[in-house]
Amino acid sequence: MKYSKENIGDEIPGREYTPNIAQSMLYNASLWNAHRIHFDYEYATREEGHEGLIVPGPLIGDWLHQCIQEWLGDSGRIYSISYSNRLASTIGETLTSGGVITGVDDTGNTAEVEVFVKNAKGEIVAPGSGVVKF
């Protein structure tokens, strides 16, 4: 894989995720995260006013990383990434990742990318940007 400034604007392929409660449980257990908004429906909706069980924010952050890392395969690494969780998503929603190349340095060894996870309404729930090294 060789990139140049001509690749600026190229899309980075994404994928769909439809997290269910089993995945959320396994993910939170692997972290040791007991926040009730992820597994206690009564608590999430009545106490915190959410529309359902909340997809863990860092799981969505992981999907931003996956978007970049699947595109890179074994030919590059994520050097840095910033993202924020802007909107909550509920278990059962289908979320879609994707991205775009926003910069390539003169040597072609480093590129800048923007990535996102969107919900079914097309709203960006987590925007991110990163630097990759080939």
Binding site: Y17, P19, Q23, L26, Y27, A29, S30, L31, W32, N33, A34, H35, R36, I37, D40, Y43, E47, E48, G57, P58, L59, G61, D62, W63, H65, Q66, Q69, E70, G73, D74, R77, I78, Y79, S80, I81, S82, Y83, S84, N85
Partner: protein
Amino acid sequence: MSSLLTPEIMAFVGNKTKPQRELVTRRDIRKYAVATSNRQKKYLNGDEAPPMFHWHLFWDVVELDHLSNDGVNIDSLLPNLPLFKAMAGGVDFEYLKPIFPGDWLTAIRTLTNIYEKKGRSGDLIFYEVLMEITNDKGDLVIRDRRTTLMR
């Protein structure tokens, strides 16, 4: 405007945790990769840790009676704050070296900032924590900066 952030609260900025040293195992990598729907073989097989695996490795293993009613524990770096409900804010990671099973990694976390803002639905307190992860040779492996907001 009266400040929620007293000098006593601000004195906690600069607080550091003790070093936390943890072993990376193939099984933990595999569990993390499966739970995140990762599709790449090297991660699913546990040959290498995917990015963000360090959140699994260094999340505080809190005892059950230290969890509050919402299932969350208050970060040990923080003073008592007048707002309690935590929400994920932004993060900024630098990945300097890959992580493999068998690696021993050490994290030190530092409370680097506390500040307040007026939100649409009231006051918000933000705090920033820097986590630096090194290997046993002393090389920096990951630099992780996080902002959390309290409402």
